[in-house]
Symmetry: C2
Subunit: 160 residues, 2 copies
DNA sequence: TTATTTAATGATAATAATTATCATTAAATA
DNA sequence: TATTTAATGATAATTATTATCATTAAATAA
């Protein structure tokens, strides 16, 4: 069976780039850390564990290349660092993010959700949408549950 | 009548900050350049025209302060520079952006458009939304019109 | 195969945006 | 008026990213 790496290799070849050992190591790190929103530095350190000879510049170059080919998405949560996410295979659109303002966790939404909104934007603003970025800032389910538990606890204490 | 500046002054006082001349000059620049997505450097240069003694660090500090107080929104279009937009008065939510991948223009959408999507996210992901960022990347109405005109032109030439 | 062109890499210097430091000034308060 | 505190300006420091350039690896031509 054709693996994800094989398909990425084909994508690279299609654009006349090669999948060098360094590029492959970088892609593997991204595959093994999906959903983790790694920075270039993060990727560099992880790649180094397996391939210590790799240079930071090569990691940057590879991430840039993968971004150009739309294999990864470069995202920015406003903390001064770019982060890189593998794009879902076959996904025309970028996935969305939920950033928790309490604990800092970043969750992903793979569902599109924006179809109706995009139809409106395309028509009303005569804007041909090619991609989108949607991030919600708020309180995640973990913090919500934690607060609910604390609340319950307090009530029980009061009843005593 | 109470002006926008007066209201911002009150907001600052409410958080026990003062509206110093430097801060006022910075806010005025933002007011006079709404919809322009200015970077800190842009703001600095504009403020300098009116108040040449101001320092870049003060502009950064002021923009940070205004961001904290949710008077401005700090945004990032992925070009390595933070940009600062005055938030619509009374707007609970951040406005959206249309970034043209051809000409680089950035247009704004003040309408919410996300109410339905947010209801789904709050329920399905148990996420309490406090704010959002939505940016569409694509081709703006100006470029679309230009292409349409070019197309028409070509057709006419062919008919000759 | 060997020579030659081209692509990719690693080390590191350069750049650019932002933040930290610190002495000075302005403002608020005692 | 004296004194504490907040804010500022100049500039150094930091940090992420990009550019440079000599070296290596790969692809292609002879």
């Amino acid at each position: 069976m054709e693996s994800r790496i094989d398909r990425i290799k084909k994508q690279l070849h299609g654009a006349s780039y090669k999948l060098t050992p360094q590029r492959e190591a970088t892609v593997r790190v991204l595959l093994e850390n999906e959903e983790d929103h790694l920075s270039a530095e993060d990727v560099y350190l992880l790649v180094k564990e397996k391939a210590p000879e790799i240079g930071l510049a090569t990691v940057y170059r590879t991430l840039e290349l993968l971004t150009e080919l739309k294999i990864v998405d470069k995202i920015n949560f406003g903390d001064g660092v770019s982060r890189y996410d593998l794009r879902q295979e076959g996904a025309a659109h970028f996935h969305h993010h939920l950033v928790c303002i309490e604990c800092g966790a970043v969750d992903e939404i793979q569902e599109d959700l924006l179809e109706d909104v995009e139809a409106v934007v395309e028509k009303r603003w005569n804007f041909q949408i090619k991609d989108h970025r949607l991030t919600f800032h708020g309180i995640c389910w973990r913090c919500n549950e934690k607060h609910a538990a604390e609340e319950k606890n307090k009530e029980e204490k009061n009843r005593e």
